[in-house]
């Protein structure tokens, strides 16, 4: 019985946190947030040098061969820092290929994804607002149809596309795909609309298993990101309460605000065990994973959104400005909550999976 982090896991998290504290402090983050240029390659390269390109890629293909809990801990740290860039889509693309690809697919893509020499992403969302494998409609030998909210679609060297019937196919963007920027709210994770018009695609042989596993992985990584984000806006609000003065004292003296902050902590801290368990279940308790991933995404992203709203209010007028850092996490919360389906969608799935 041991439900805690190993020394290696703590070290991994500390290493990433340290890198992000140096390379993505609030000023650097803001510059990236405000930039026209959607992708900061230098910053991304730094993350790749830490080995974050292939966390879930097997060692035989040049990755770190780690477990979902490790990737989730990294995602938590990224959420805490609101780290911009394609980490989510890239990690999921590597996982999908590792799980569902042929030997040739794996040899062609995984080593390059692991080092960051190639950028991967996933295309799951559709124009009608659906996200899930059983709802995908894009299909055909030459792929036709539209995928929405594809992270860093324009920068990706390979897109793992969710296809009709719940499978996955690889597309290397080029002929037969037009890619447009979607004006997204979360400027730390840029999204694109990808229109396929007879694009060459290679189906993954084990695509349908890989699709459901990759969906679960995505739900877990979003939950982890949300936990990190919620912890950060809580910390920012507590810090502000200890420095801002009104009525001759720091505002942290006022009980209404203290209780608001205590409630935010109560919404956040217990959720840590929930995303840990969902991530642990991915590798170790597969029969629990699908449902716990759905519950974790629903619960933790909802908590993050709520806490981000409270944090905005706890900052007063400055909280409502572009200048206030909270807004960047607020928008990250909107992403975590909506991407791959709302909390309501995943609660209904959890209900069905329990046979309710």
């Amino acid at each position: 019985m041991d439900f805690g982090l190993s020394e290696e896991q703590q070290l991994l998290q500390d290493t990433v946190a340290q890198f992000l504290a140096n390379e993505n402090d609030p000023n650097q983050l803001r510059a990236r947030f405000d930039a026209e240029e959607p992708h900061d390659e230098t910053f991304w390269k730094g993350l790749m040098e830490l080995g974050l390109g292939g966390l879930l890629v097997p060692e035989e293909h040049g990755g770190a061969g780690l477990q979902m809990i490790d990737a989730a801990l990294v995602a938590e740290t990224m959420g805490f820092a609101a780290a911009p860039g394609p980490f989510l889509g890239h990690t999921l693309a590597g996982l999908a290929i590792a799980l569902g690809g042929s030997e040739a697919h794996k040899r062609a893509w995984l080593p390059k994804l692991a080092t960051g020499d190639a950028l991967g992403t996933v295309a799951f969302g559709e124009e009608d607002g659906s996200w899930l494998p059983e709802q995908w409609s894009v299909g055909g030998d030459a792929l036709t149809g539209t995928k929405c909210h594809v992270p860093y679609g324009a920068q990706a060297d390979v897109i793992v596309v969710g296809t009709k019937g719940g499978g996955l196919a690889l597309v290397a963007p080029g002929d037969g795909a037009t890619i447009e920027l979607f004006e997204g709210v979360d400027r730390t994770r840029r999204l694109y609309t990808v229109r396929f018009d007879g694009a060459a695609a290679e189906a993954l042989p084990d695509g349908s298993d890989a699709a459901s596993r990759t969906r679960d992985a995505a739900l877990i990584l979003l939950a982890a990101d949300a936990f990190g984000g919620a912890s950060r806006v809580l910390a920012m609000s507590v810090e502000y309460a200890k420095t801002r003065e009104q009525f001759g004292v720091t505002i942290g003296h006022f009980q209404a605000l203290k209780h608001q902050l205590a409630n935010m902590a109560l919404e956040t801290e217990p959720a840590r065990g929930l995303f840990w368990y969902a991530a642990h279940a991915f590798d170790e308790v597969p029969e629990d994973c699908e449902r716990m991933a759905a519950l974790a995404k629903a619960h933790v992203t909802d908590r993050f959104m709520h806490v981000a709203r409270e944090a905005t209010e706890a900052h007063g007028g400055i909280g409502f400005t572009w200048e206030c850092d909270v807004q960047m996490w607020f928008k990250r919360a909107l992403f975590d909550r909506a991407w791959l389906g709302t909390p309501g969608t995943h609660r209904e799935r959890a209900a069905q999976l329990a046979g309710w």
Partner: protein, 404 residues
């Protein structure tokens, strides 16, 4: 991470099961005892086998086992499965025994620990007063030395189980010159004596579990004091580093959740099973998010305990998180009950929240989920603790007023 118990503990589980198979239910003459007698007889066997009273030295009637949270958890699971009694529940085992073990005199431990754990002796807690609740240290009940006795005058309120208790542990003001917290002593007293007037207080549920207790010249021997004079506040804050039951608390939340799920399956809305209603499904799944978070927070804390690490802020949140869950269960329940929520709760079978046929029990839970939220530190007091000790925010202005 590994949530399994591993071969060593599974082997231990086998031993516990074999013990329970052999010993519970009781056989022969012992099976003819009344329920209380059976519980006492069985607890003795459980202690002899090393499964109960594990943190209590043998000398005081315990089984003196090495602290092992996992073994303790296995025992709880198997005893619950077999519906076998554990140590006598209640404030005596939970609060008085650890306090005596940490702070009591030798003779006090010898006299009370074993009987309390076995269930031969029942205690009540005399802390709250009409004017002293959240601000407990403002209590006024007085104890004065008169020869070899303390003489107690004053009033306690909300005293659960005072009508059945053999003894009370009570906080009294003994050092009139001292400041608020410094003037309090922790005394023990016999409830069966003249001068004590226990008056039941009817709760909103209709039942009467708690009481007002009036003291006029009630006597208790000079040495029935735990800790020194004026140290009562500190003594009342003592807790033992015993096998922590962080999973037990989570198991309770899971149990309550299973009950509300059952209620949803057995109730109907618009002629269809309520569990098929989309709004109900959403509320249940939302609640389950909190329940699962609570469960895995329990495992986190247990692991921290096993590793000798500090689990952090989560430890300050257990009460509020679980009473919030209890209150949400209650709110969903009254919606599921529909006009069943018109039922008088005093007619209900308490604690057995089965299906809609026990509407009274559920209406009772709708109310008593507030009772537990208030008792032992209200929600606001919990939030103060989280804000001050967890987040490091300033202490309350008024709560510190006595220091100015």
């Amino acid at each position: 991470m590994d949530l399994s118990y591993g071969p060593e503990y599974e082997a231990f589980r086998g031993e516990v099961k074999a013990f329970l198979d052999a010993e519970w239910p009781l056989k022969g003459d012992e099976a003819k005892l009344d329920l209380q007698g059976q519980a006492v007889a069985f607890r003795k066997k459980g202690i002899a086998a090393g499964y109960l009273a594990r943190s209590i030295p043998r000398h005081y009637g315990g089984s003196e086992q090495e602290a092992d949270s996992l073994k303790a958890q296995v025992i709880r699971e198997e005893f619950a499965r077999a519906r076998a009694p554990m140590e006598a529940m209640g404030i005596g085992t939970m609060m008085l025994v650890p306090t005596l073990l940490e702070r009591g005199e030798e003779w006090q431990r010898e006299r009370w620990v074993e009987d309390t754990v076995l269930g031969n002796t029942a205690w009540c807690q005399g802390y709250s007063e009409p004017g002293a609740g959240s601000d407990l240290a403002s209590l006024k009940t007085k104890a004065e030395l008169d020869g070899d006795d303390w003489v107690i005058n004053g009033q306690k309120i909300w005293t659960s189980g005072a009508q059945h208790a053999d003894f009370m542990f009570i906080l009294c003001r003994t050092e009139p010159g001292e400041k608020k917290h410094g003037g309090i002593s922790y005394l023990l007293l016999d409830m069966k004596q003249p001068g004590i007037d226990v008056r039941p207080l009817r709760q909103m549920t209709g039942g009467a579990d708690f009481n007002e207790v009036f003291f006029s010249d009630v006597r208790t021997p000079k040495d029935w004091i735990v800790g020194k004079r004026g140290e009562g506040w500190l003594v009342s804050r003592t807790t033992l580093k015993h096998e922590r039951n962080s999973i037990g608390n989570a198991a309770q939340a899971q149990g309550t959740f299973r009950n509300i799920l059952k209620l949803a399956k057995q109730s109907t809305i618009d002629g269809k099973p309520a569990i098929e209603n989309p709004a109900i499904r959403q509320r249940l799944a939302t609640l389950e998010g909190y329940v699962q978070a609570h469960v895995y927070s329990g495992y986190r804390q247990m692991t921290a305990g096993l590793r000798g690490e500090d689990a952090g802020m989560i430890q300050l949140m257990n009460k509020l998180h679980s009473t919030n869950i209890g209150q949400e269960v209650a709110k969903i329940a009254v919606d599921l009950l529909g006009d069943g929520a018109l039922t008088d709760p005093s007619q209900g079978a308490r604690g057995l929240f089965a299906g809609p046929e026990n509407a009274a029990g559920w209406v009772g839970q709708y109310m008593s989920s507030l009772g537990v939220a208030i008792a032992g530190g209200t929600g606001n007091i919990q939030r103060n603790v989280i804000a001050e000790r967890g987040l490091g925010l300033p202490r309350d202005y008024f709560a510190d007023a006595h220091k100015r």
